[in-house]
């Protein structure tokens, strides 16, 4: 579904992502792990068109989206969250979702109703997502007033509001306690049940090992291993590069 072909990004002399190739299949939960500064977030940003690639290509559902503008990437069917949550703090919770509905309705409703119509449809649609994110009773709160965990959930709901086919989660468990990580895992599995493909960029091992089907490991911008969670855990290269130094 998503293919990266020899993707590279150099910042000056630093090779943040170096000749990275990988394929995420329809319906799977794919984990992308690696130590700090190994190029995980850069990869997400390259896929989403935040900054231009140095070389290589990003192909989504057979369509070349290399260096496409961010909003085109969303329209193609890729949603994302940010490592450091980026909500629209001065908008209410439901308005955060309203803003993001854009690309869905492009095909369903007329221009006038979509942009200048009343709030009812927007609220109805936001309602389902808020229920999923466990925020139904917070709909009229300003996003900035939410607790940390709630903000993470809202950001995920916002990414879903554009009805993506592929969801990129950039360290969604950062700063969460064990209970919240458990709820997150449940939520990610529920999304897959609905046919969503997920690329999970993560640091928290229990989450990655628990929910993913396949994992790729990055170190210094290069892919050093790829396989099922069990294989990755026993891979000696991964142990030295990552588990050995960071977690063990």
């Amino acid at each position: 579904m998503l293919e990266l072909h020899s993707l590279s990004k150099h910042f000056g002399g630093v090779r943040a992502v170096d000749d990275l190739s990988l394929t995420v299949n329809q319906g799977e939960i794919f984990g992308l792990i690696g130590p700090n500064g190994s190029g995980k977030s850069t990869t997400v940003n390259l896929i989403c068109g935040v900054f231009p690639t140095t070389s290589g290509a990003v192909v989504f559902e057979g369509q070349d989206i290399t260096d496409a503008a961010s909003h085109r990437v969303v329209a193609a069917g890729i949603g994302r969250t940010f490592q450091n949550i980026r909500l629209f703090g001065d908008l209410t919770v439901w308005q955060n979702l309203w803003v993001a509905q854009n690309s869905v309705e492009e095909r369903e409703t007329g221009w006038f109703a979509r942009w200048l119509g009343g709030q009812r449809r927007g609220r109805d649609y936001a309602g389902e997502l808020l229920k999923f994110a466990g925020l139904a009773d917070r709909a009229n709160e300003l996003a900035r007033n939410l607790a940390f965990g709630e903000q993470r959930r809202l950001e995920m709901a916002r990414a879903l509001a554009a009805r993506p086919k592929l969801l990129l989660l950039d360290e969604p468990a950062a700063g969460m306690n064990a209970e919240e990580v458990g709820q997150l895992a449940t939520r990610i599995r529920a999304l897959r049940e609905h046919g969503m493909t997920i690329l999970l960029v993560e640091h928290v091992m229990e989450l990655v090992m628990g929910v993913t089907d396949r994992i790729a490991v990055l170190n210094f911008g290069q892919k050093i291993a790829e396989g099922a969670p069990a294989e990755i855990q026993s891979d000696p290269a991964v142990r030295t590069a990552y588990l050995g130094t960071a977690d063990a």
Binding site: C48, R86, T92, W98, A100, Q101, N102, G117, Q119, N140
Partner: protein, 299 residues
């Protein structure tokens, strides 16, 4: 009574100017070009009624469309720069427009006098209202019909999804893009709407003062344009109106007895206001209080 009509006219025109900056500010862009768009509207509308003999309404609309067009053209390159660079770029654009009119001559003979813009002397004799026998009250009503139309339109826009999208872009461009918002389209649209409203304001201004010159459209006017929405707080169009009434009505007119000292007071009050209420005089909290007073649902 004419005094109050005059004040109503002034407040109306400045409200349009403030509204034009309000739309653009919602997207996080501080545009100092609004005085330039205002000037384009003023000169073009004046030329249409005086030189071409048009009725005022089509003249205003065409002038506003022309302003909006210029704003669109300015909007595209302005996207390349952000924040403070945009302030300087739009400031320079506004000044360039002013200097353009400073150097612009186009006069024709009408009866035994020459009419039309004449460089540094300005554009005199924009006498559409007196020539057609409009009283001061008529003019004030006419202006306020436009102001109310613009306020209602923007109020609606603000309540619709467009409003949330504009604010989303203003808060975090990267996040806005990543939920599928086309930044170029949103920012340029905001500039275009702003240009249209500023053009309308300028067109009316030219006709009620009857004499415009380039000095009317300098940096100070551009500053006023952004001062209204910032002082008013960016939570609602009502804030703009309140700020205009505060500045033009209270500071400029009521304190007229203070003579030239009121400008000094004006500067000091802005400094004070921004220290005491950095979110604007009429911020989101005040807005909610107001809603509650009118018994509306908190939405």
């Amino acid at each position: 009574m004419d005094f109050y009509y005059g004040m109503a006219q002034l407040i109306g025109v400045h409200t349009l100017l403030g509204l034009s900056a309000y739309v653009v500010l919602l997207t996080g862009q501080v545009s100092m070009a609004q005085a330039g768009f205002f000037a384009i509207g003023a000169y073009l509308a004046g030329m249409l009624t005086v030189l071409a003999g048009w009725h005022i309404v089509p003249a205003m609309l065409l002038a506003a469309v022309a302003s909006a067009f210029v704003a669109t053209v300015v909007g595209f390159p302005a996207l390349r720069v952000k924040g403070l660079m945009l302030v300087v770029a739009t400031l320079a654009f506004g000044e360039a427009v002013r200097i353009f009119w400073f150097n612009f001559d186009y006069q024709i003979a009408k009866g035994n006098i020459q009419v039309g813009p004449l460089g540094g002397e300005g554009f005199k004799q924009i006498r559409y209202f007196p020539e057609n026998g409009w009283s001061t009250a008529d003019v004030a009503l006419f202006i306020w019909a436009w102001v109310i139309a613009a306020m209602v339109a923007l109020w609606w826009l603000d309540r619709s999804r467009v409003g949330s999208v504009l604010r989303a872009v203003g808060e975090d461009e990267l996040a806005a893009q990543s939920v599928g918002i086309n930044l170029t389209a949103v920012k340029v649209s905001a500039m275009t709407i702003g240009g249209f409203i500023a053009g309308l304001g300028g067109a009316i201004y030219a006709h009620y003062t009857t004499h415009i010159e380039h000095l009317n459209f300098g940096v100070i006017l551009a500053t006023f344009a952004i001062a209204y929405p910032i002082l008013g707080g960016l939570s609602s169009v009502i804030g703009v109106l309140i700020a205009v009434i505060f500045i033009q009505g209270f500071l400029v007119e009521v304190l007229r007895f203070m003579g030239d000292w009121r400008n000094l007071l004006f500067g000091a009050l802005i400094v004070l206001a921004m220290n005491v209420r950095p979110d604007g005089l009429f911020d989101a909290r005040a807005m909610r209080t107001l809603r509650r007073l009118f018994g509306a649902r908190d939405a």
